[in-house]
Symmetry: C2
Subunit: 226 residues, 2 copies
């Protein structure tokens, strides 16, 4: 048995990783968390957070662990996106990557460099640097999925603090969909779902009329609408 390669099989096995596309809304744009690689290949390049699967965890647990290690946050809505498997997607060895996407509000999160990342930072999705591996493709797929799910689920609330104004919520939709929405129709539609309640408090920011704040009535993860 090779001294440094103690895990042996009768047939070749690929390595398995997870990569996570973590979205936030910051500075009025949709942003993605990237880490800068400290090790080859693609050293110094930006990449998605992620890493190798341990033998005692499933893929979702792996994605959660990697996210925790590299960003310090936990318990996010995490959804499996797609599994990438081009034979040459990693120059080191054959690597299969199960990808996940997640959402968070940016101000609760202070990305910190972890063992495998010398730096972690937010990038607007419409201005990403060149990414390592096939990660640009993964980000694009995640963006499409996010936009598609907006209207069928309650994921948008994951991007906002516990209480928020309807204008903030509308801004999230407009940022992700990249189009302006009608204020009256938007509010009508959201309130008709009966998933929000007024907190009774007002948001007093800036030199204008204060806005009612709302919270989600049933804060259980994510629901599919209709």
């Amino acid at each position: 048995m090779p001294v440094n390669q103690p895990y042996c099989y009768t047939h070749p096995h690929p390595a398995v990783t997870t990569d996570i596309v973590l979205f936030t809304i910051r500075e009025e744009s949709l942003q993605v968390l990237l880490i800068q690689r400290t090790n080859p290949p693609f050293r110094q390049m930006w990449a998605l957070p992620g890493g190798f699967l341990n033998m005692d965890e499933n893929l979702e647990q792996c994605a959660n662990r990697e996210l925790l290690e590299e960003t310090g946050i936990d318990g996010l809505y995490l959804e499996q996106l797609y599994t990438f498997s081009a034979p040459d997607r990693d120059p080191r060895e054959r690597v299969i990557s199960a990808t996940y996407f997640a959402l968070t509000q940016s101000d609760t999160l202070h990305p910190k460099a972890g063992s495998d990342a010398q730096e972690a930072a937010w990038f607007p999705i419409s201005g990403l640097p060149d990414l390592a591996f096939d990660h640009a493709e993964i980000v694009e797929l995640a963006r499409q999925r996010l936009a598609a799910k907006l209207n069928y689920s309650t994921i948008a609330f994951q991007l906002l603090p516990e209480t928020f104004t309807l204008s903030q919520l509308q801004a999230v939709y407009e940022t992700i969909l990249d189009e302006k929405l009608d204020k009256r129709n938007f509010r009508k539609g959201v309130l008709a779902r009966n998933i929000l309640m007024e907190t009774g408090d007002y948001s007093r920011t800036g030199n204008h009329r204060p806005a009612k704040t709302y919270r989600v009535i049933n804060p259980t993860r994510v629901e599919i609408i209709k």
Copy 2:
């Protein structure tokens, strides 16, 4: 190096497989192709077709190859469904399975037993035998996905021959959704999509009025509607 285990790695690697849920409409019910296992574990039990990933192919190619080997058909619409990864889902070793679903018209397909399957056969989805591994869970997820995609895509045509009548198409929808649809509304809706053209021919079967036959105008794989 162990004689029978020549593939060695510095970290443990899981095995990677694909499993395919192949649907058809037969005998007026939605059916799934299963194979009977010849080898342990779960010997003699029914299971989904599928098998181990080769190092020179991606997951979709693997699924296509396994489908070809075990059913003799090729070139189907194949969509990645989900990747299953519970650590104990295979008693032999750690196995990650990327699952796919596919549709075919049953009369072009004559399942034949392959190397790893002593028998292959169609089963109505509402009367499946006990399945090996976590395959029952996989089938259920595929069924949900199929029903959800019916209204947003053109997958239903994959279950029909090149030319077909609107009544045949409606029967496909009714079988998958498991509910009766209104004939006039169904036809109105389908024709309004402008994806069908009349062939000019008629289907003369049985002792009743012949039905116009249609074909898909643009027979490129699968489209998402709207």
